[in-house]
Amino acid sequence: MTATSSKVTRVIGYSALAFTALALLFGLVISGPEVNMRDSVRLLYVHVPSILTAYLCFGITLVGSVIYLRNRSTFWDLVAGSAAEVGTLYLAFALITGAVWGKPTWGTYWEWDPRLTSTAVMFIMYLGYLALRRMELPHEVRSRRAAVLGVVNIINVIVVHYSVQWWRGLHQGRTFGLDPQIRDMQYFSWFLGTVALGLIAAWLIIHRFRVGWLERQLDEIHLEEALVERRGEGV
């Protein structure tokens, strides 16, 4: 393998472009504003899909990490790492769109809402995971540690989620009790956004995986060359 694109990724890529165009058309032009949130409801067509995709990515990281710990294959290590990278990107996107949505809806960019707070902590946890993957350690060592963290991170996410919810729950009621009146066209726009963002994530993960795979091969070539050089010195 020398290139990161293939027939499959090209199909995914073009479909992603097509669905993005459709999502923009339906989300911004065809569907109408919502009763309470008005035009800011349009942000939810990308906000909610991006958080869902992020969760899906972290799920893939968990599965990849578990399988890696069982069979130690480079494949699953790279799957876990690629999915975590894309998931973190989507989580950042979700936090930003959430803040932009929060300004007109709540009046502030940031609320100490349980979900918002635990999502922010989770985002930093996955930044830590990515930082661990960049540590200068031998491949197997780093992959094993990353896999342990990939599994333990899920426990953290659950613990943080419940403790933050409990914290806010004891101190104040729900921050907002909007009753969204989402209608057919709005649902459809949201659906299109989900498909578009999901396809983009798949495209990114596959390419990231292939780049990672090429990096590994490059490392091995370098190692081989270094060995040959050393042998040459000995003669």
Binding site: I124, P138, V148, V160, W167, L170
Partner: protein, 230 residues
Amino acid sequence: MLRDAWLMAVKDLRIEFATRVVTGQILPFGALVLILFGFSISPDLTVVGTDRRSMLAQAAPGLFWVTVLLAALLALGRAFAVESADGNLDALKMAGLDPAGIFLGKVAAVAVQLLLLEVVLGLGAFLLYATPLHDPVMLLTTVILATAGITAAGTLYAALASGLRVRDTLVPLLVLPVLAPVLLAAGLATQAAVFGSADNGWLWTALLGVFALIYLAVGMLAFGLIMEES
């Protein structure tokens, strides 16, 4: 396993006794942080509706636990710095020590040092911030359970980030988000213990206990995997 844990803990505490890093460097650092909080939050500000209690006293439980977390980061970094030289972890493994035992020993040694720090820093917070004390039993329980949680989760993560490079900057990034629930629960339980506020402090201490148990179990299971190499 428990015998291995005991050996590890005693070894680490002996090193500390000989080098005095915790008492000579980390403790003064913690005291300094307490004083800096005093500078950053004016001691003259009072909180409305609390009988003119100063803002500093009101925030004291949270400030105390933030200080403890910062000191704990240093103590955890130290716990693995003593092992990173000369492939010490490999040597421990080759000596036939049980990884779970090594983990528990590290946790115990850091916990002892952290408890000492907490007692001194706690006294400092009481003196500097003029905090009352309503329920000493709850406070003691909170301190013990929070320490168990901080050291269990902290040791696991410090081990993940141990190695010759990057370690110093990676440990806080990995450890602090995981300890966020401890800060929350310990802060609120301490608030209940010192002010006797309406919040149910015992619920928060229970959460601290659950947290400590989860990470002790995870650490004992995962430490073998982390130690497989070096």
